[in-house]
Symmetry: D3
Subunit: 287 residues, 6 copies
């Protein structure tokens, strides 16, 4: 009897219409949180991305790395000044951040993808002058080398995708005088998705998605459009870190990105389930 | 809980290494028997082929159609002469055969593939002068318009594959004076696989594979190489219709086709199970 | 003396300006009537098309096959219901029509073209989902599987032309649920010419062209534009089968097709004479 | 009645097999003699070449210009020294020769071809460093700037052919120090045909072809291979200017040029008759 | 010590930003005057152009040749009629002009460029039907074969540039009936620059540039835009031959050519100095 | 007077023949030592490389980083075990080395090149699985994650060069189980130059070149071939760190690399002087 194998084959057949639908599409994935720190989840997410690549989708990965940066700042005993509750990024901080982001984490992700059999290339926003930034103030105050994206040059990403490589991008950019800056990873993913006119932008987060009541996972909002998202802002439902994230989502879908997904990165295979099944997980934002 | 969906996602992940391994490979599939006449099996096989296409494999389908030809010969009351137990293919027989093969069955398969979402093109060996034949005698006797392939021009097939179309091929060829002939479908599949230097040649049949004792399915030979296949011939194990089929297999693997598979086309998804799992089904022939 | 040969050479030289003018142009040819049933005319027409191809023109052939379909319906004793004088196309009728069109006639034309030395590919509107149709009613009544074209996907035709193949197309299309329908051949030729933005659309018919007095061949209208064509409709000069044909012509020239020709397919080489000499034959319709 | 037009169409149809056979082939034509000085013949030859181009053949024209050079040397009263009966090519002679060849005749031919509707580009062996020469002595004596070809760089010719231009080449080359030299036109045509591995090399001459008895046009040798050509040399049949011409022919066919033709350029359309009919004219040399 | 070599290297480094800025740009150079007749200057200018080519700029050279034409008209004793002080260009005059321009000077420049190591192709406006003209009257009077450009077909130039060849163009064009005409070289350079949408158009002249007081080189106007140029016309500062030249400049910069330069061709390396240093020489015209 | 500018222009003209000679060539540059740590030299070297790129040469940069790695190992207080005088590369050591090499130095070089106007992409041997290694023992003893190259996949480098990017490569590779290793930078440069079949391999070092007497810079050997290099080994002239470097040189020139240069990276513009002048600096190794 081959029942088990036939069931498995049926799963592939069931995925067919999704594979056909998304073939050739670019999907930008903001990778971070537990998906980055929990080794089991990490394996699961990266394999999911490899599956996307293997069926003709073109994934672009943007990663952060806050926890590792903090742990290395501690290790080299860099003390930080704070303004408005935000750490000021000095030259020394930035140097450590870049080493952790572009040296350790970025190339570590490349190594994982290559092990899975997917050719990857680790880039930062410096490469090919991909991310141009200007200094980003916090409530008018200088918080150091923190950048806001003013331009994305997608040529290098597109060259790599065309030649079958999966770009993995760390969040360092250059200003017009070619000084380096750290950038918020959600902002980088959003800016790249918009510049590429990607089909999808996916945020892998440590929450279930957009919740009506942040304390109750059962209040997950499965689908939302830009109008109702704006109403949620006005009614004060959206709070804290979800505010900038959702604003990014709205910007993206108003600018040629077809759908944005906020997924629970803590759940194994949430990425494949979202893209290849009718069981949407997390929150989907459309125009 | 998303256990079910996670299990499905895991199936896709498990298929990853096979998808990566076979990406870009050409696979020639001889399609016939129950896989052609049983509507449930037919759906299953064509979806399997669509899955292969969707993950980057390049399938080429060759089909026969004996039963339908017989039923239409009856319908139009064409009586047949027989020589050595073989029906003589007269002009009238050939006309019906071509209408059934190239008109009804071939375009019917195209229609099925298009319904599943895979762009297909129905060809016969006449198109682009793909199959050149010479008259094939049976024990020295003329049995009419039955052809033996002398040349395969793969240019049209390769043009279509390159542009994303799945070729579906009926078994009519032309001789050097451009007269039409019917050809054995196993021979067509083998000749095309050899000319394309395809990675795999798959025969979908109505038996379990090569059996040591044809009356006992439990004596299936899972893997065999050309040397041991020749021994089976000498020891008289191979009998009847399996003789020319296995000879085709041996010719193919000696001529740049990496593997030939004789699969049980009556089993749902035997094609996907063979290619995407470790559970080989049927018989695999290698050099 | 080489007088004869020099005269022949002069003919080639005289054709030069026409060859240069039309090089690279797409010409859609509706092939039917005597040109299809009279073997001498058939040879002449197909050679004309081969000449067009050999001097850099890109011909696309659309063929009907009413007479053969009728004769095969008789052969298999399919009786037909009629509505408004039109035969209802049942599943059984359609099955025979498709076998005759796509199996017998289409591949027969391919065989002829290959014999002449021109690589051809026989397609129906199913291949590559080329022709999408919806059910076509006759005075509000369902007459079965008769389709009206709603969309032409020209990608397959263009791929074949680019690679040097001459497409020969039978008149079967699919609706949005992938059911097959028969389509009027004039409509198919017109729809394909418009979708391709072909330079010319040529109807090979069994009449001299558009006649002011249908009973008098001497009243042939050599050239006509859309305005004067509309006046002919209003004045009642256009009658019977010429009505839909001329409407197709007007639609075509208003939609990027430069010229439409209604030629007498019964006259040998009418196609070459029309395209390569100043002696226009038949009726030319321009915007 | 359209008999005349149908006869013309039949001529095109009769040419079909030749057009198909030679499509894409390169043909190098040495153009000179009466074909260059008689205005009627000139028109005929250039139109023949335009016809070749229009049906997919790639012509390359090499021209001489002895008569015009002489007349211009007289006009500017340049007196010439002679050695072994050959004019010594001084700097002044060469200057006039180049002006006549590359300025007057070459661009005049371009003008003619453009008038006929064929895009042409006039080159000399200087352009793109196409023809490299060394000084050519006559019986050991220096006769000035007369060059012998040591290398042909076909890249420019091939670039132009690929882009649809017909190259017309005058017989000036450069030595390794980039001094200019005049070259024998037969030698240039032969060297270019060999370097291009052209299908055909055609000499348009003022004789009927190779004659067994030079005084009797009825002794024309229609076909000859390299062996029998060598015998003709030995037996002393070949005389005078035919000696180097036939040696060039033999060299060419032994070096990948399929056929060489010595045609009577005084006969209208001899080029088309040779290529597009069974009536060979002149002498054909094969390996 | 390597001081000298290091200084040289520093020059290359100083040129870097200019090289990067102009890489891939088309620059049309009107070459004439002393730059053409003085052998030292000629060497200098052509090497400058070779340098431009070697660093990725695409130069297109247009040359005149008045002095040589006059000297050859004298040599062959062609007497000229004059109207409004202009020589009437008869057929005989034109024949000599074309031989000198397209045969002697044009191919002479090609020879120079090849010697320097830059692949060049010598063209006239006849080649590829590049320059279409109509008869140009002088104050309403016919002055013979003097043409005014009505159309530039840039395809041949672009094909050559794309394949790495530097086009050198003489000033002969064809009218719609394919008669040849001589054309003013400044007009040819301007028309080609406009048709190519070149980045720069450079006139190498025998003056310092635009002077406020033509008798005083110290009154050189370094930069001027179209508005102030028009004022100069109105105020009568612009006189004589500078009038049509400056009008050409204004036309060019208003039609997608970014900058026009009037350089002193008598100064060695004025071309490189203008393009690769901050020391502008001559007059620069911008929109 | 424009004397100075004319002298500068002359430098460009003098470089012309070198630029033409090396256009399109790949040059692999091992960048390290003072060229990396002295800010003035660093600027000079990177600008030299930018000049190479701007004139059509394709540079590939391989860099080490020993000093910075040591300083960061100290900073995070990683103590090292030594075997045979070599530091053992533990997981912790490797982590710091990779952060310094791929994060700090590599992306720092990219930033510099982008500032100069040259698009660069920072890679390690992990990217695109470029460098495959196996564990490298020291006299049979395990010294940790130190790798020896077994395979170079040049596809990613070639893709980037073809698209105009300059690859900058850090010395981390993966073994067949996808574990990371540090690799000697000279070995990486040599292996990449050989795999690319680069025209030149250049080592920027902190010595004058190969010296007959290492203590006397006046004994510099300017040119050497593989035979005489082997004699130097035998005679004991080559000592210390020069031994493996010169062995690399010999391997490279025997394997399709045309020339290898050992240059004094401490001298400003030694790279440009070597490539663009006759004043060779350092030692040149040829086959």
């Amino acid at each position: 009897m081959h029942t088990t194998e036939q069931n498995k084959a049926q799963v592939l057949v069931d995925a067919l219409s999704y594979i056909q639908k998304f073939a050739g599409d670019m999907v930008v994935i903001k990778y971070g949180g537990s998906a980055m720190t929990n080794e089991v989840i990490k394996q699961s997410v990266l394999k999911d991305i490899a599956v996307l690549k293997s069926v003709g989708i073109k994934p672009v990965i943007v990663h952060g790395g806050g926890k590792d940066i903090n742990s290395w700042l501690n290790k080299v005993e860099i003390k930080s000044e704070f303004k408005n509750g935000l750490r000021v990024t000095t030259k020394e901080t930035l140097e450590v951040a870049e080493m952790v982001l572009s040296g350790k984490l970025n190339k570590g992700l490349v190594q994982h993808m290559e092990r899975i059999g997917t050719h990857a290339v680790g880039l930062s926003g410096k490469d090919g002058n991909m991310l141009t930034v200007e200094k980003c103030l916090s409530k008018g105050e200088d918080i150091g080398y923190v950048g806001k994206i003013t331009h994305v040059d997608t040529e290098l990403i597109e060259t790599l995708l065309l030649n079958g490589y999966t770009p993995i991008i760390s969040t360092i950019g250059l200003d017009e005088k070619y000084h380096a800056y750290n950038i918020n990873a959600d902002d980088v993913a959003t800016a790249i998705a918009r510049a590429l006119k990607a089909s999808k932008l996916v945020f892998l987060t440590d929450i279930e998605g957009v919740l009506e009541d942040p304390s109750d996972p059962n209040t997950l909002i499965s689908k939302i459009n830009t109008n109702s998202a704006k109403q949620l802002f006005e009614s004060g439902v959206i709070q804290g870190g979800m505010i900038p994230k959702l604003k990014n989502c709205i910007d993206a879908v108003q600018d040629d990105v077809k759908k944005v997904h906020i997924l629970d990165g803590r759940m194994e295979h949430s990425l494949l389930i979202e893209i290849f099944t009718t069981s949407g997980v997390g929150t989907e934002i459309k125009k």
